[in-house]
Amino acid sequence: MKGNARKLVVLAVLTVMLVLSAGVPYYTGQEAAAQDDITICFAFQDLETEFWVAGHRAITETLRDMDIEVIEVNGNQDANRQYEQVIDCIAQGVDGIILIPQDGESAVTIVGEANDNDVPIAVFNRPPSDDNPNDAIVVVADNEIITQQAVEYMAEQAQLQFEETGDKLQPLILVGDLGDPNAVGRRQGFYNVIEANPDLFEDPIEVATEWDAATALANFEAAMVANPEVNFIFTSSDFLYPTIRSVLEPMDKWVPVGEEGHVILGGLDGDATACMLMLEGYVDATGVQDLFYEAEITMDALLAAIEDENYWPNEIIPDPGFALTQGNIEEREMDMWGCVLYDEGFLDE
């Protein structure tokens, strides 16, 4: 009987804990503002790469400096979770939404939900897929052109090598998730250059990464073992440089520009790691998205829509970007956001 009483007490305590533990986050969570005039929901899919970390920081810090309440929600790479988070934001009566979607398809659905509820929405850097019928401010880099610029420089280096050896080069591209229009544009930019130089390049090898470092490592390693002659590599995102290095180094292919065995290497994003590797001479060219410009223009356009009570702003704002190469790095180094962060010690944090 005594044992029963003790267990009953334990059960009661556990029950109280269950209710309280569900409520505990209230005390650790950010304080609800409500007093501020404008509240913006910032829904991002994850912070896996330097680009997203820096973009997240640029947006949240700028908005808070402007005394704007920011509700941050992290979808953790789950489209349904992000959808539920956004409709919860709408229920909270936010004035606008900045969205970094999981992919172009889920962006269409979420933008439609915002349109239905009269909440202006801006999509940052990862646009809705091409068949999007809904209205949004879309800020996006011209991935195809920026990639093309970077790969054109790489092709010039390849031409020099071809003239020396007389051997065609074997190109390889690490392709992103093709559900993301950014990945599609980058792949197209790469092929524009390769197909324009049929005498210079063999047929390219494609390695699927799905924007995932582990997947990229497994597939890239397998591709390099099967094709050790690869000597021209383009990565669709700079965050894969450590992955590339981990495969090339044991094969004695991680060699700086100008030394024998150098693999012509390029990418796109313009992050701090890419900057460091360019300065060290391992990377030939990198396409640069102007992150700070994109963050600023996203916020400006969304705040203007909120002020004008324009619930369905519909505008595509391109980021022209540029290619930082070993040929222009001395003049344009500090135009690349990753070099600014690198200079500030971002990689040491």
Binding site: G3, N4, K7, L8, V10, L11, A12, L14, T15, M17, L18, V19, S21, A22, G23, V24, P25, Y26, T28, G29, Q30, A32, A34, I71, E72, V73, N74, G75, N76, Q77, D78, A79, N80, R81, Y83, E84, Q85, I87, D88, C89, I90, A91, Q92, G93, D103, E105, S106, V108, T109, G112, D116, N117, D118, D131, D177, L178, G179, V184, A208, E210
Partner: protein, 394 residues
């Protein structure tokens, strides 16, 4: 009388303490309190009471929690989760577990979408083995067909049943551990979904299908009479997901509580050996239970695909914690033999309310998962304690 050191220091003997304890324990308010506590803790509506208490507490702190729009969101999130959790309830009742449910959602989502899509990007799909036979530039195999949606849904449900059959066969006939079998299934079918689509989502689903995930049948407006009601003030009331999940729930409840098969499910979960000796067709019961679980996962796949307006190879990738969590919180025992569909409904309600409040509290995804994990652990502890106490009481 010999006294201990403590008794010398404090002028109260252990005998006196024991007498006072008996007096207090037998006093009417305490007797009433214990009775009330027992009734509360042992009630089959225990988790519903908890949900209500939690809701009332949090309403005080989150102003928008009880607004009609937010309540609509909570219910909209509950229906697909309920559909899949009903299947998990059946499996847990047999003392098993089905980890493959999320992969069933993914594979049914992409196959159904591939069959009925009207919009395919060749660039994305030309490397897929579906290209040229099931998917072409004109769309899916059933694109434009009069019964495209119905046939695609039948295919999705059929795949769910088939995967459940494979799981059930491996567990019942070959006596393999459910955890291992369904873990392998999960890995295999998740990878297959990604392989079939080369990791691409499939859009261009027919409107009739999208409706199943988010369409309203009856909408309501709460507020003053105005000339024009804005879209954001129109709230979903009766929706297709509600009808699907509620229909599935009612059927599942009747099957469990009113049929011989339902009794077999409980018997297998309580003591499989005893059930077998008593003439219960345990193997057939287990196979049917896993088939039903696959069926429910396919139904959830239909609702989630419609809701997200795409066939997604990664659909439900992070949902397993929610499914098992909601079912266990509802009171269904991980050891089998105890549970009800109604309890699962309460568990789902608590779980989606919890997720909703965590979102409204602006916590990060990681903090949300930590809280959810802790609560599932506590719920499991409560389940163990309640089960033991109930056994002693009876």
């Amino acid at each position: 009388m010999a006294t201990t050191t403590n008794e010398r220091e404090f002028p109260i003997t252990t005998a006196q303490l024991a007498r006072w304890y008996d007096i207090v324990r037998e006093s009417p308010p305490v007797v009433f309190g214990i009775k009330w506590l027992k009734r509360f803790l042992f009630s089959e509506y225990f988790i519903l009471y908890l949900t209500i208490i939690y809701f009332l507490i949090m309403t005080e702190r989150i102003q928008v929690l009880d607004t009609p729009l937010n309540l609509t969101n909570v219910l909209a999130n509950a229906w697909p989760l309920l559909a899949i959790a009903i299947g998990q309830t059946f499996v847990l009742l047999t003392a098993g577990i089905d980890l493959s449910q999320t992969s069933v959602m993914a594979i049914t989502s992409v196959v159904g979408a591939a069959l009925m899509t009207t919009n395919v990007d060749p660039l994305k799909f030309q490397n897929s083995i579906l290209w040229g036979n099931i998917v072409t530039e004109e769309g899916g195999l059933l694109a434009g067909h009069q019964y495209a949606v119905e046939l695609a849904i039948l295919a999705m449900l059929g795949i769910g049943l088939f995967i459940g059959f494979l799981n059930g066969m491996a567990i019942a006939r070959f006596r393999m551990p459910p955890f291992m079998v369904t873990l392998v299934s999960m890995t295999f079918f998740s990878a297959l979904a990604i392989y079939l689509t080369q990791s691409n989502n499939i859009r261009g689903l027919p409107e009739d299908f999208i409706k199943l995930g988010e369409g309203d049948i009856i909408s309501i407006y709460v507020g003053e009479q105005v000339r024009q009601i804005s879209r954001r003030d129109v709230l979903s009331f009766v929706t297709y997901p509600l009808l699907i999940a509620a229909g599935l729930g009612i059927v599942a409840h009747v099957v469990l509580s009113r049929t011989v098969f339902g009794r077999h499910v409980y018997a297998v979960g309580t003591n499989a050996r005893a059930a077998e000796v008593s003439g219960v067709p345990t193997k057939r019961t287990i196979i049917l239970v896993y088939m039903f679980s696959g069926f429910c996962a396919a139904v959830a796949g239909i609702i989630y695909s419609g809701r997200l307006q795409a066939g997604r190879p990664t659909l439900g990738e992070n949902l397993l914690l929610d499914v098992v969590g909601a079912t266990v919180i509802g009171g269904t025992s991980l050891f089998g033999g105890k549970g009800k569909v109604l309890w699962t409904f309460f568990g789902v309600l608590f779980f989606v309310l919890l997720s909703n409040t965590l979102n409204l509290l602006k916590l990060s995804a990681f903090e949300i998962d930590i809280v959810k994990g802790s609560i599932i652990l506590l719920a499991a502890l409560i389940d163990v304690t309640r089960t033991r106490l109930l056994a002693r009481e009876s």
